[in-house]
Symmetry: C2
């Protein structure tokens, strides 16, 4: 550390909030929930209940299989059991019926696969870590699954600029660990980090926990390589921070959910690993106080604020009940998780102290705990990050991922709770308050059409009335595709359809997803 | 301020570097160079020497003029003298021959203009503040000029989220002043701020002085409204930080230099105004020391570093000679301008002190001065920001705006200087080192074909060999269009051409610019 002898405030956090302080130097961790497909029950085949007709793609023939077997020896999988986890999404709510899984190792193989599929008019679903929450990464019918799991090599890392170049199948957490060893971190983080692929992160324009600090992938992705549906390579894999030569084609692929091509490599700008990190979990009596604390927090923490997450009591209870996690605080209507990340430990502590003193004095916050050591930081993050996983234990989960102006954000949770009464098992609200992003989740023991009818279009209409977005960060995938009009105009959707048609004239890439079909 | 009585280091900066300290609370200023068309000489008509044939757009007829006069009473300008400044670029290197300038006040008028032009197949050049440096904002032949100058209204500003929505003709500096009054700033800043329009900033994907801290417009622009060439409105004007519903169409228009439509309104995420700002100007003996200081600086200043600019001695001399600015330091081979912006004055000073002590002790820096008061900060910024203006006084300027890996960045300046010998009046290198962005400028008394032949393709080939970009932030416009292949593959350019054709099938929007024509 560059500032020996200057820990004037060391221990003060402990005095304020009873933290078990133990400095550990390296910082900025959150918890990774184990990737777990919940429950033994196999969801019904999507094809049987989705109300869609299979488009006239030909079936995969034995000649097709022979071709792929020659191209990818031992990596063209047809065994039904082996295919199972690739056909079902992480939430176990959709199930495709693909008969063929392809596992290419490099861009050249992806080119050959897509060229063949395009020539033969065979439909393809690209799949990363299969942790998406809108059914975008599994087939709807029998599309061929193209998995990026074996494309997991780091290509280069520039110690001066922080530019990382890697294949698209690299797992987010592995990349972060690799970078931490070199004094850097990934600019994004999310609960599924232990399974999700960086290519999938780009394809869904993942947001997550660090967006407040490091901005979106639209700014941090420096370049990418994609294979177009016709098998040609679009190489935009530069590592320059600035490049204004023509239209920024890489943006087309960020957030297009595999419908325009397959992302095969990524170049991304990584920030320095912060020298100091603190996490505070605070209890708050009302949502209006959560908002006031946010303002106070931005005033005091300024440039070191790296996360401002909130969760309600019900979402705290679900992680306590199903995952046996310990809530270190007394019951509160709301909890706030604040993370700071900075370059100077004692400055960060001073800022955090000043903020916490003010928050407690003013009565905005009723209880709290602060973590500065790796283990406790992880356990506080787990309370927030494992909500998704814990909810799945309830049975069936109706998930809404919404952008709403922050002042109105929790009104929707309360209205939904009032509307559903006892028909839902649980209605919870949590999310990235700093980004205006609410995760509204409703659970029931099994899927219920009447509950769904009470939720939709109510939730979407409410969001549209408040100029929100019906998908803040999850994307549209299969489940939300037809709801796009709540957030986008007809003209905008028509332009998207034209783009799709231009890049994928045969419509083979991840059909039935993201953009409603032009007819 | 939230930290009374804690100014432990107050005055220490003065002791280290002789700064004339005078705290002023509000911070984060740079200088705005007066917008000045240099020299009395009118450049030759572009049409006469560009070697291009005018595309078969019809001439503007008196019926056309009558239509526009009715649509925009008093705002359809045909007077030759009035048109002059709109036909000539800021650098006075290109001159169009437009006979008609249109000054709409709102989106509806822009729609009617473009619909009419598209129906009649009339070519249109959109123009903001006309401060571009690649000839993108003036006509090549007689294209109608559509100026956004009267579209200068702020539509809304959200104090909680920091989202600003405004018409595209708002001047960058005016927006910044408006925001400062509300405790915010614009996320971008550049020398031309006093004249450039926010719509033009988006259309050219402007980089500038704050990119190091706040990232690119690809991340900070939340939404935009654009009128397509057929006169229809594409409304993507949302103000949400996160929205993953379909393809991100706004990205198409950012950086497309008016070739796909006219940006009429902008929604942009603005950061809080920093409470504390410091600027240091340092002298350095070699470029390798400039790089070492950069590493030291990132280590010590971390999250408060907001600019790391460099300029060589020759570029310091040009502002001293032509603009009579005072260099407060002794002559050095290189100068570094560092800006910090943070939320806590004494923390920022401690960080800056520690950095400066180390930089001086280690001999990396030979001289320096620090400014914390508004006036001195402006005068230090002026030395860096007014280089562009000062160079124009030399006569003709060959401008190159390159992204190059930082380690190699200054090699090109030295090689160019050696290559040209005494045939150039001046060869200068300066730029945004923190972003790997070099501005290489060569001056001569008048335009010289032999000098040009010595520079091109040499500069472009050198840049391409080092995997750089031949336009980091200026765009391609008219002057660099055909050099796109040094930075982009044929496949990528073909895809850009397809996009252009899809959105502007008649090719009326800013023809001869940015993307080489498909034939």
């Amino acid at each position: 550390m560059a500032f020996p002898g200057l820990y004037r405030t060391a221990g003060k956090l402990s005095r304020i909030l009873g933290a078990n302080k133990s400095p550990w130097g390296a910082a900025f961790l959150s918890s990774s929930c184990p990737h777990m497909a919940v429950g033994p029950v196999e969801p019904p085949l999507t094809a049987d209940h989705c109300g869609l007709s299979r488009l006239p793609f030909p079936d995969v023939t034995s000649q097709d299989f022979d071709f792929f077997q020659r191209l990818l020896p031992g990596r063209a999988v047809t065994d039904e059991d082996d295919l199972k986890t690739y056909n079902i999404d992480w939430l176990r709510t959709v199930r495709g019926n693909s008969k063929l899984l392809l596992r290419p190792q490099n861009t050249e193989e992806v080119c050959k696969i897509l060229k063949y599929c395009n020539d033969r008019h065979l439909a393809v679903t690209p799949q990363g870590g299969n942790t998406g929450l809108v059914g975008g990464s599994v087939p709807v019918f029998d599309e061929i699954i193209l998995s990026t799991a074996l494309m997991d090599k780091v290509i280069s890392f520039d110690q001066v600029s922080g530019a990382l170049v890697c294949q698209s199948g690299c797992i987010l957490e592995s990349l972060n660990q690799y970078l931490e060893g070199q004094g850097y971190i990934m600019p994004l983080d999310l609960g599924a980090k232990g399974s999700c692929h960086i290519g999938g992160n780009l394809a869904t324009n993942a947001g997550g926990l660090r967006l407040l600090r490091y901005g979106s992938l639209r700014g941090t992705v420096l370049g990418l390589e994609a294979v177009l549906p016709d098998g040609s390579v679009l190489n935009c894999l530069n590592s320059l921070r600035k490049d204004n030569t023509g239209y920024d084609l890489k943006q087309l692929f960020i957030g297009s959910e595999g419908t325009l091509g397959v992302i095969t490599a990524v170049s991304i700008l990584c920030p320095r690993k912060p020298r100091s990190a603190n996490v505070a979990l605070l209890g708050c009596e009302s949502f209006s106080k959560v908002l006031q604390v946010f303002t106070l927090c931005r005033d005091h923490l300024g440039e070191i604020l790296s996360a401002y997450e909130f969760q309600d009591l019900e979402s705290m209870r679900v992680v306590q009940t199903h995952l046996k996690l310990t809530n270190p605080l007394q019951d509160s209507a709301f909890y706030i998780l604040i993370e700071t990340a900075g370059s100077c430990e004692h400055h960060d502590e001073e800022k955090l102290n000043a903020f916490l003193e003010k928050a407690l004095e003013s009565g905005l916050v009723t209880s709290g705990t602060v973590a500065t050591d790796r283990g406790k930081i992880k356990s506080l993050w787990a309370l927030r990050e494992c909500i998704t996983e814990a909810l799945a234990h309830d049975g069936y989960v109706y998930k809404y991922d919404l952008s709403i102006p922050v002042e109105k954000l929790y009104d929707l949770v309360e209205e939904t709770r009032a509307r559903l009464g006892t028909t839902a098992r649980r209605v919870v609200g949590y999310g990235h308050l700093g980004d205006g992003n609410l995760h509204l989740n409703i659970t029931s023991e099994t899927k219920s059409e009447s509950l769904l009818a009470a939720l939709e279009p109510f939730v979407y209409e409410w969001t549209a009335q408040h100029n929100g977005s019906i998908s803040a960060e999850h994307g549209l995938g299969f489940k939300k595709r037809d709801h796009i009009y709540y957030s986008k105009s007809r003209e905008a959707v028509q332009l998207m359809q034209k783009l799709k048609k231009m890049l994928d004239p045969k419509g083979i890439m991840n059909p039935y997803k993201t953009i409603p079909s032009a007819d």
